[in-house]
C-alpha cells in the first residue's frame, strides 16, 4: 500500500512537472484527485485494509493528496504568471506617440500677471474693487489734486467725451470713489483699463491697464508704504529682489516716490533688459496728499494713507520678456498659447 501510494505520488509529480499548459494540469488534477482519480481509487480500496491500519493508511493517502495538490497549485500559479507575463510583453505601445489632449485655452498674459498681483494683495487683506472706465473729469483729475488748467493735466493725454466726462487716464479715480464711501479703514487695489492718447507702438498703447492700491487708516506711514511695496516686489519678482525708492512728484501724493526693483533677469548686474542699469522702474507711489483726503471727506489730521499705481502691461512685458506691446492686443493664438 505504501509503495503504491509512493508510486502514484511520484507519477503525479512527474506528470505535473512535465505538463506543457494549464489544460494538461487540469487533466492531471482530474486523473489523480478527481472522483475516479487514482488517489480516490486508493481511498475506495480502504475497506480492504485492516481496521487498525486504516488511520495510518488514511494519513498516508491524505499526505499524498496534499502534496499533489500543493505541487499542482504551485505549477498552476507559475504557469498563470508566465502566461500573463507573455501577454503583457506582447502588448507593447509606443510611449513616444503624442498624448491625447483636451486642448485647453490660455489666459492672457495681462490676466496672469494681474492674478499674481491680486493674490499677493488679497493675502495682505486688500479688497479688489473696480470703477467706471468712462469717468467724470472730477474724479479723474480734480479730486486727485489736479485742478483744471494744471500742467499735470496736460502730461496725461486725455480722451474727452465732453468737458466733464473723460476716458479715465488712470485707475486713481477709484481711490476717490472708495474714499467717498467712507468705510474706514481702507485697503484696496483697483485694477482696470485706462486710456491715453498715445499712438500705438512697441512701448505705447492708447489703452492699457493699471492697478491702483490704497491704504487709509490711522497712523499709516511712509515706512509702511515702503514695507508693503518691498514685500510685493519680492513676492512678484523673487525673494532676492531689492527695491529702491526714488523721490518723485505726483499731484495726489506727498511725499511721492518712484520704485525701482533690481533687474530680475541679471539680478542687478546690468543687462539688455534693464538697459545696463541693473534696475527697472515698476511703479509710482506716495502718501495720499492731504488735499485729496480732505476732498473725499476724510480728515487728514486723523487719518493718513498711501497709494500706488502699477502698470499691468509693464509687469507682464517684463515678467514674460515680451518685447512688443502690440502683441498684447493682436490676439494671435501663437502668442497666447505661450502663456
Amino acid at each position: 500500500m505504501k509503495e503504491l501510494l509512493k508510486a502514484i505520488r511520484e507519477e503525479a509529480i512527474s506528470q505535473i512537472i512535465n505538463a506543457e499548459n494549464s489544460e494538461k494540469l487540469n487533466e492531471i488534477k482530474v486523473a489523480f484527485l478527481g472522483k475516479k482519480g487514482k488517489l480516490t481509487e486508493v481511498l475506495k480500496s480502504m475497506k480492504d485494509v485492516p481496521q487498525e491500519d486504516r488511520p495510518k493508511v488514511g494519513q498516508l493517502v491524505n499526505d499524498a493528496r496534499v502534496e499533489i495538490e500543493t505541487r499542482l497549485e504551485e505549477v498552476i500559479s507559475r504557469k498563470l504568471k508566465e502566461q500573463r507575463e507573455e501577454r503583457l510583453q506582447s502588448e507593447i505601445i509606443d510611449v513616444t506617440l503624442p498624448g491625447r489632449r483636451n486642448q485647453t485655452g490660455h489666459s492672457h498674459p495681462n490676466t496672469i500677471a494681474l492674478e499674481e498681483v491680486e493674490r499677493i494683495f488679497v493675502g495682505m487683506g486688500y479688497e479688489v474693487v473696480e470703477g467706471p472706465e468712462i469717468e467724470f473729469d472730477y474724479y479723474n483729475f480734480e479730486a486727485l489734486n489736479i485742478p483744471a488748467d494744471h500742467p499735470a493735466k496736460d502730461e496725461q493725454d486725455t480722451f474727452y467725451i465732453n468737458k466733464d466726462i473723460v476716458l479715465r487716464t488712470q485707475t486713481s479715480p477709484v481711490q476717490v470713489r472708495v474714499m467717498e464711501e467712507g468705510n474706514l479703514p481702507i485697503r484696496m487695489i483697483a485694477p482696470g483699463r485706462v486710456f491715453r492718447s498715445d499712438e500705438v507702438d512697441a512701448t505705447h498703447s492708447p489703452s492699457f491697464h493699471q492697478i491702483e492700491g490704497l491704504v487709509i487708516d490711522k497712523n499709516v506711514t511712509f515706512a509702511d508704504l515702503k514695507g508693503t511695496l518691498e514685500l510685493f516686489a519680492k513676492e512678484l519678482f523673487g525673494e532676492d529682489t531689492k527695491v529702491k525708492f526714488r523721490p518723485h512728484h505726483f499731484q495726489f501724493t506727498e511725499p511721492s516716490a518712484e520704485v525701482d526693483v533690481t533687474c530680475f533677469k541679471c539680478g542687478g548686474k546690468g543687462c539688455r533688459m534693464c538697459k545696463g542699469e541693473g534696475w527697472i522702474e515698476i511703479l509710482g507711489c506716495g502718501m495720499v496728499h492731504p488735499n485729496v483726503l480732505r476732498m473725499s471727506g476724510i480728515d487728514p489730521e486723523v487719518y493718513s494713507g498711501f497709494a500706488f499705481g502699477v502698470g499691468l502691461e509693464r509687469i507682464a512685458l517684463l515678467k514674460y520678456e515680451i518685447d512688443d506691446m502690440r502683441l498684447l492686443y493682436e490676439n494671435d493664438i501663437r502668442f497666447l498659447r505661450q502663456f
Binding site: 483636451n102 486642448q103 485647453t104 485655452g105 490660455h106 489666459s107 492672457h108 495681462n110 490676466t111 488679497v122 495682505m124 487683506g125 479688497e127 479688489v128 473696480e130 467706471p132 472706465e133 468712462i134 488748467d149 500742467p151 499735470a152 502730461e155 480722451f159 474727452y160 467725451i161 465732453n162 466726462i165 485697503r187 486710456f195 492718447s197 492708447p206 489703452s207 487708516d217 490711522k218 497712523n219 506711514t221 511712509f222 515706512a223 509702511d224 514695507g227 508693503t228 514685500l231 529702491k244 525708492f245 526714488r246 523721490p247 518723485h248 512728484h249 506727498e254 511725499p255 511721492s256 516716490a257 502718501m287 492731504p290 493718513s304 492686443y329 490676439n331 493664438i333 497666447l336 498659447r337
Partner: protein
Amino acid sequence: MKTPLSWIKAYVPDLSVTNQEYMDAMTLSGTKVEGYTALDADLDKIVVGQLIKIERHPDADKLVVCQVDIGGETIQIVTGARNVKEGQKVPVVLVGGRVAGGHDGNTVTGGIKIKKGKLRGVESSGMLCSIEELGSTKEMYPDAPEDGIYILGDDTKVGEDALALLGLRDSVFEYEVTSNRVDCFGVLGIAREAAATFGKEFIPPVVETKGNAENVRDYVSVEVLDGELCPRFCARMVKNIKIGPSPVWMQRRLAAAGIRPINNIVDITNYVMEEYGQPMHAYDLETLAGNRIIVKRAQNGETFQTLDGTLRNLDDEMLMICDGEKAVGIAGIMGGENSKIRDDVSTILFESACFDGTNVRRSGKRLGLRTDASGKFEKGLDPQNCPAALDRACQLIEELGAGEVVGGMLDVDNSMPKNTRIPFDPAKINALLGTEISTEKMLSYLTRIDLGYDSTVQEILVPSFRQDLECMADIAEEVARFYGYDNIPTTLPGGETTVGRLSRKLRIEGITRNVAEYCGFSQGMCYSFESPKVFDKLVIPQDSDLRRPVVITNPLGEDYSIMRTISLNGILSSLATNYNQRNKDVRLYELGNIYLPKQIPVTELPQERMQLTLGMYGKGDFFDLKGFVEELLERLGMNKKTVYNPEAGKTFLHPRKQALVQYDGAVIGYLGEVHPEVADNYGIKERTYVAVLDMPEIYDRASFDRKYSGVAKYPAVTRDLSMVVPKEIFVSRIEEVIEKRGGKLLESCKLFDIYEGSQIKENYKSVAYSAIFRAQDRTLEDKEISGIMEKIIEDLKALGIELRG
C-alpha cells in the same frame, strides 16, 4: 534739461564726485538724472601740436607731410587737410589714442583707435583732428573751419591736453525735472540741490549791475494793462551794442547744454535762460514805436507774424507785447518778425517777465506753437526771479563788453508775493514718515535748500522759488529726500485687520475664464474704442440703437473714435488676424465692456456692461459653443431651465443658426454662426461661430451655494423612445412633451441619437430619447410608467411624429 557738470561745479566749487556717484546721489535726493555723457568718452591721447613744416607728399597730390611738435618731440603725420599752415597749433591724436569718429561726422561707439601707418608709402604717426573727429559739430564750435582741421589759438601750449582746451573734459547730465520744480529748470536750481545733496556750499553768482548814470525811464516806458496775465514785467536797456562772438567758456557751456552759440547778445539771453530758468527776450529798441511797451490782450481776429515768419491768428485771450503802435511779440511764446534784432542793432531792450502759466499754455495750444520759453512759462515761473535774471544778463553784457548798460530798471510788479509760512511740526513729520529724525537734523536739511525758519513761531519760511511747498506733507518730503528714502525703515501697516477678497463680479469672471479656457478658448484683449464703420461691417440695421455710441471728441483717428456698443468686432478682427496667419482651429474669448449711452448727447456716465464674447473657427460648430454656455451656467450654479430661442433676430448671424440664450425670464446672451456676409467683411473664409453673454445678467443670477441632495435609493426605470420627426420640429418640443407628461416621476430625458439621411424619408429626421423615471420613496412599477409613456406617445403623435419599433 541737459547741463554740463562743469557748470554746476561753477556754483558748487567743492563738488568732487565721479559721474556715477553724482547721478546716483542726485537721483536719490529727487533730481532724477536720466543719464550722462562723458564728452571725452571716445577720445584719448589728444594734445596740442604745432605744425613745424609742411611738405608735399612725394606720391600723392592731395596729401601733405607734416612735422608736428608735440612738446619735446616731433612726429611725422600725413594729412589730406588743406587748411593747415606752418606755425599753426592743432589738436593731434597720438598713436594709440582714439577719436570719436570720422571727418564726415559719423561717430563710432567706443571711438576709433589710431595706429601707426603709411600713407602712399610715407610713414604717419598720428592724426590732425577736425571738430567732427572730436565728436562735435561746426554748429557747436562756430570757430571751426568749414572743412578741415580745427585750428587752436596761438596762446595754447604745445603738448598740453587739447581736450581740456576744447571743453571736452566734461560730462553732460540730462535731468528729468518734474513739473512742480520750476526752480530746477535752471542750472542754479540744480546746483542748489547738488550742494544740498553732497553737503557742499552753494555759491551763486554775485550779481550787481548799476549801469551807467542814465536812467532807462528817460528812454522807454512800460505799461501792463493785464496784471493778472503778467504778474511782473522787468526791462533794462543796453546801448552801443557791439555784436560779436561770445567768449569760449560761454560757447562751451551752451554747446554742452545743446544750444548753438550765435553771437554775444543771443548767447547771453540763452545763457541766462539756462542758468536762471528765466526766458529773456531782446528787442531792437529802434523798432519799438514810441519807445513804449504795452502789455495787453490781443483783439479777436487780429493777426501777427512771429519771428519764424508764420502769420498767426490771435484772439482776446492771448496776451501780447506791444509798442506804441503795434504788437511786437506774443507774451511768453514768441517774438515778432517786426522787432527782430538786426545785425546793425545799436540799442536793445532786455525783457525779463513773468506770465500766467495757464494762459501761456492755452494760448500756445490754440496757436499750435510751443517754444523753449513757453515750455518754461507754462509751469508758472517765480516773479521774483525776473529782476535777478535781468541783472545777470546785464552783468554779462558788461563783462563781455557787448554794450553799455543803461542805469535803472523798468519793473511793473503785479505779483503778490506768497510768503508762504508752514508750521514746522517735527513730530507730525516723523509720524507721517515713520521715522525718528531729530529736529536739528530736519532743520539742517531744510536750510541747506534755502528754506527759512522762524524759531519764534516755529514756522518754515518758503522762498519764492519754491512755490510748490504749501503744507506739512511737502516739508516732510523735503526732509525725507535729504534724510534718504533708503534710510526710512520698512514696516507694514498695523491697525484693524481687513478681509482680502475679490468682488462677487470678479469671482464670477474668474470662473468664467476658467470654464472658457477649459473648453479650449484663449483669452484675447481688444480695444474699447473702434471705428463707426464697424456697424456696417457687422450689418447692424440703420435704425439700431447700437449705432448711437459714446463718441470721443479728440480720438487718435476715426478708427478709434467711438466707444463700442457691441463687442463682436474685437473678437472677429482677432479671428481674422489669426486666419490671415493661417492659424488653424482658433478659439478666442474676451471679457470686456461695452458702453451704452443713457442719452445723446452724453450728460451722465454711460452704462458699462461687461460682455463675454467667444469666437471660433475650425474644429467644432454651434453645439460646441452651446456646450460651453451649458457648462458655464452649471458651474455658476444657474440650474434653472435655459431656453435657446431661435428667434434671435441678429442680422449678423446665420438666419437659421442663431439663438438667444434665455434664463430666468431674461435674455442673457446669444450665439450662432456668423453670417457669411459678415465673415466676408472680415475676410474669414471658414464657418465662424460666436457667442456673447451679457455678464450683468449673470452676476445677478449666479450662485455659489451648493447643497447635497442625496443619491437615489430606489432603482430607475428607463424607457427609450425612437421617433421619425418632421425636420421643422425642434427637439425642444419633444422635450417639452416628455417633461410635461413625465411630471414628478421623470428624472431626466436625454437625446441619445439623431440622424438625417438616406434611411430616413425626406424632410424627416430620426430622433431617439431615453426617459428616466424614478421615485424618491419606492420602487416604480411598470404599470405606472406605461401609463405615462402612452400619454407621451399620444402627444408626440399629435405633433406629427411617428414612433418607431
